[in-house]
Symmetry: C2
């Protein structure tokens, strides 16, 4: 039973993360009445438990990495102590400030924010359980933007004691002496780098045959080399049989029988969609075998129901989510009648080294029956990388018929190349195009320029 | 008298800096026989006494700046000692390595390197005074790429004691307790930032009414605010009457009569062309009233004589020099018959804050009778700036008729925006264009994106 007469909105959005926020802003700009339903915190995983806190942790400890690099060259000496509780305070304040900014933004645009858990009770109708009781809202269009949460395989379920997921690790106020990380992807690498800078001894267990397994194999190789140089222990191609808290430690047993003990374990094996209890079946949605909401080429889950962001499983990235959210708002408003064609998707891993990737790499191009060629430039020749005493890494370009189809890089600060590379991939630059602008000197960007103008070889 | 029969080259280049090197590489690639005459060090000012050593010094001390920023937030504590003699050693090795790389590159391309001082003795003929005697070479085309050197106004001539130019300052191995810098431009700011990180107390005297006077006034204002926050003493609109070494100190007297004493003074008031003793008059060259070689719209100084880089005074930038050098090589080879149209020129100042600028700013656009509008995004809202605890600054865009004509920025790491902004200015992006790519999140680039999509106001 609802306690008040229901209100109707053109667009009701389940979830106030990047996808929901962007959708709300765009739909409102198109003149639609919009309500956002958020059961937890505005900003979603990205702001509260993902991109933003990890970037804060890495940015705040950049001094540790920079000092270590110069100390190796015997140019600098000294010591830095990071106050993790103070950093956690700073994180809490910064995230709260950003959440308030989102709330103000919604309010300034006349978007209604309903704080509570929303459930579709019938097509066109959502009940929201708020602190003040249940509110019923009717929608013209429903946008499901409920995001994702960490998932774990059986036998290694985070228990909140010594076995944690990324949410738990991000809230630690004591620096562990040792950490075993299950999963060598972006979450494991970024959090491992942060704790390594605080002095934690890092061990990574990755079931596939290399770290960052979705990156170009050469990038994975450089990442592994640099992790090993920083004394990480890396186990690739190893599967976990069990991971439990045991007497104040995390005890990990590999399928091989080998055992790894650490003060804390991070399970970073992936993320799954948040769909339970939303009544999506009442809206006509279907889930795929992994549990993600099935969408068509316009991101439609059912008639007048759309799913955007992590919950549709297309690309688990905040910027993909917000891009999808804005697209669907334009679809609902009739401003966009085409299929969803996002163009080249940028991917980055932060810390040291950074990685960036956009477009298709040689393996993907070959799988499509194409015959890519590649060109490279080494960061060793770049004066900015030299100045930061971090010369490992490269920029690598995948070409088809003389046009750029993909760019990847690994090394000092290379995430800064991502937007220019996105433009180059989208526009299919030729080597000659690289000569049609003046590149500032000295910049990291010149490594990209040199890769663009370097001789190509077979992939 | 020459000691051996003269050798003839299609292209003879006076100077092996960025302009000469790029010209040699391109001319050689076009099938021309090429000789480079270098009296001093390959790499020119940029490599040996300019961009590269300053970037090394700033990169090597980035840890000091990053620690200070986090210490202000009480997230980090500690201390860092920079070993300046060790850094000078590293500089010497790094520059030597880069010079060797250039020499190898020339050799691998079959380009002749003549080490010595070249003088045009008659049209088509250059004598080179080498360690082994004088060599005469004949040219089809002569390219003057002799660069620039620091200049000083009367009354403040560097004396190699306490009054130094940038060449002298870059070789210091003792950290001065105090430094007075005459000239608040890029050289003064970058070197001041480096020594401030080493603990030197900095005073800047600038004759014009603001620091970085060729930048957008809002950028100058932010630079000054941050310099003052770091305890710099800034005198703008003050002219120097005299600056001399006096009893182991630099003694500067302003025209107002006020006196400034410092352990060392840096004269960074500008740079002038290197033309003396080159016999340019024998090649038919003329110099303008400032002493720069006069060139036409194809960078021609006389029949079959060209002048590129700092020596023509068009843009005292390494990347402008190399761009001009490559253009002239194509002109000589008949591959380019158009006038020199470089497109948008990027400018950066490094350190903290960084600045970038490309295209035309509102003042320039208004001077052309246009009616620019501007949009801005503050770095305070950017998560990468937040993570580095350096949130002062902004990105500012100048628009004409809804298209980007210029971009500038000041703040943490903004030089990384320069290439993407160069593309946007060249292609005259609209706000809508910013929606046609996916921008990675979180990145500094998003500040540029927000400026592109922000509301515009009158300039």
């Amino acid at each position: 039973m609802t306690s008040s007469p229901s209100e109707r909105f053109d667009v009701v959005i389940l979830g106030g993360g990047p996808a929901g926020h962007a959708c709300a802003v765009e739909a409102s700009a198109c003149g639609r009445s919009v309500a956002v339903i958020e059961a937890s915190e505005l900003g979603g995983t990205c702001l509260n438990r993902g991109c933003i806190p990890t970037k804060l942790f890495l940015g705040a400890t950049d001094c540790v990495h920079e000092l270590a690099a110069q100390a190796k060259m015997r140019v600098a000496s000294g010591s830095i102590a990071i106050d993790l509780p103070a950093l956690q305070d700073r994180k809490a304040k910064m995230l709260a400030g950003n959440r308030q900014a989102i709330e103000k933004d919604l309010s300034a645009r006349g978007i209604t924010l309903l704080r509570g858990r929303g459930t579709v009770v019938a097509p066109g109708m959502v009940d929201v359980v708020t602190a003040e009781g249940t509110v019923r809202v009717e929608y013209g269009d429903l946008v499901v933007a409920t995001g994702s949460r960490p998932t774990a395989f059986p036998g290694m379920t985070p228990d909140g004691d010594r076995v944690l997921d990324s949410d738990g690790i991000l809230d630690l106020s004591d620096v562990p002496q040792s950490m075993v990380i299950v999963g060598g992807g972006v979450i494991g690498l970024e959090l491992g780098r942060f704790f390594a800078r605080l002095g934690t001894s890092i061990t990574v267990v990755e079931a596939l045959d290399r770290l960052a397994p979705w990156e170009d194999p050469e990038v994975s190789k450089t990442i592994a080399q640099l992790c090993k140089r920083e004394k990480w222990t890396i186990h690739t191609g190893k599967r976990v049989a069990s991971l439990v808290s045991d007497g104040g430690r995390a005890r990990l047993v590999l399928e091989s029988g080998d055992e790894i003990l650490a003060e804390v374990a991070l399970v970073a094996t992936g993320r799954g969609p948040v769909t339970e209890g939303l009544g999506l079946e009442n809206a006509g949605c279907r889930l795929d075998r992994r549990g993600f909401v099935t969408v068509d080429e316009r991101l439609r889950a059912a008639d007048h129901v759309w799913a955007v962001g992590d919950v549709n499983g297309k690309a688990m990235l905040a910027h993909a989510a917000s891009h999808q959210g804005a697209y669907v708002a334009r679809c609902i408003s009739g401003c966009d009648t085409g299929n969803y064609t996002p163009g080249p998707m940028p991917w980055c891993i932060y810390g040291a080294p950074e990685t960036m990737r956009v477009g298709e790499m040689p393996a993907e191009l070959e799988a499509r029956g194409l015959h890519p060629r590649v060109s490279r430039a080494m960061l060793a020749a770049n004066p900015i990388a030299q100045a930061h005493a971090s010369v490992q890494g490269f920029v690598k370009i995948a070409w088809v018929d003389g046009r750029v189809h993909g760019v990847t890089a690994v090394g000092h600060g290379v995430a800064h190349l991502i937007t220019q590379a996105t433009i180059m991939v989208r526009d299919g630059w030729t080597a000659e195009d690289a000569r049609r602008i003046i590149w500032a000197h000295p910049t990291l960007d010149e490594a990209l320029r040199h890769a663009l103008t370097a001789d190509t070889t077979d992939a």
